[in-house]
Symmetry: C2
Subunit: 206 residues, 2 copies
């Protein structure tokens, strides 16, 4: 450590640099910002960091992040528990909730099948999903009738959805997947081949 | 708050968003990173934030940031206390220290004169600088003989340096300023007019 360096400031820079997308210069800017802000503000940041670790857990039913289990969505009275939206990550729940279009409940897989990265179906919450859809759960007033596979439109997301479709094939459940096609607001000339193919194959009556 | 949102996670996002250069999406990524990291890592970040506020103070002699006063640079035995490098901000000390070329000590002005922003000379540590250079300080073995004005090459930095030069004019001190000219590694064709002018006016014998 150079003679001009301040140990606690360097330590804070190192901690900020561990965060994603924060390089040495950003870390320095953030550290100096904390230094300049008043102590109450710094304490709020420090408390918020710890509170997230201490309070956030996974919902025992849907595996979404929550501060209580079962989570607010699983226990909401205005939700249709017969309809399960299967997503890869808790972030996807937030994205879908923002649309306001989901009236069902969720099931978070906690990832996608990726054999090359060592992620097998057993590493995901697929067993829990299957027992939710096959057995009429005590907490659910009525049995599940519909599963919407809302995995990402990526190779791994598609592979995971195909795997789930095969598992669900011998049930009487209505299984669907999110539509894919041209991104709203995009231009045809810049669309990728995959996007165009999806748009053409999935074309709807005008 | 939406039904799918987690209070402590939203709170952490809000705190991260207060940091400079962190927008809503970055804040979300950072918050999820904290959530995924183990508790010891989160505690290190929280502790580092508070430690900076609790431990970092200004050196009573040079006003640089430090955990003890006078700071390590002011008390270093291998420093030439007759030579004072005047900079605007503590960050500038770090930048100059990285060169390894400064053998003197520093004086941090804590800003620059900017009347339009309401920063007058009295708001800076100029009085302290003048008493350092005029009176043989008890802590300094020998009186100050040289002042290097290392303010930024900006309108405000130049203005501040000119003001200091006028204050120091009636002393016998050697006063100098950092050289300015073409940025090393840059190309003439892209140099700004100000940079070219400085390079031409300050040209040295080949």
């Amino acid at each position: 450590m150079g003679v001009g360096e301040i140990e606690s400031l360097e330590e804070l820079k190192r901690e900020f640099q561990k965060l994603p997308g924060i390089g040495p210069r950003s870390a320095e800017r953030l550290a100096f910002h904390v230094l300049r802000s008043d102590r109450a503000e710094a304490a709020k940041l420090a408390d918020a960091v710890l509170a997230v670790k201490d309070r956030v857990i996974h919902c025992g039913a849907c595996f979404n992040l929550t501060e209580k289990t079962p989570c607010n969505i699983c226990t909401a009275t205005d939700r249709d528990r017969r309809q399960i939206w299967v997503v890869e990550q808790p972030k996807d729940v937030l994205a879908l909730e923002k649309t306001g279009l989901v009236r069902g409940v969720y099931h978070v897989l906690m990832g996608h099948i990726a054999p090359l990265d060592g992620v097998e179906p057993g590493d995901l919450t697929i067993d829990a999903l299957m027992s939710r859809v096959k057995n009429k759960n005590e907490e659910e007033e009525e049995g599940v009738t519909e599963v919407i596979l809302a995995t990402n439109p990526t190779v791994e997301g598609d592979g995971t959805a195909l795997y789930l479709e095969s598992l669900l094939a011998d049930t009487n459940l209505k299984v669907s997947r999110l539509a894919r096609g041209l991104a709203v607001g995009s231009q045809l000339e810049y669309a990728s081949l995959g996007m165009l193919e999806a748009a053409i194959r999935g074309r709807t009556a005008g």
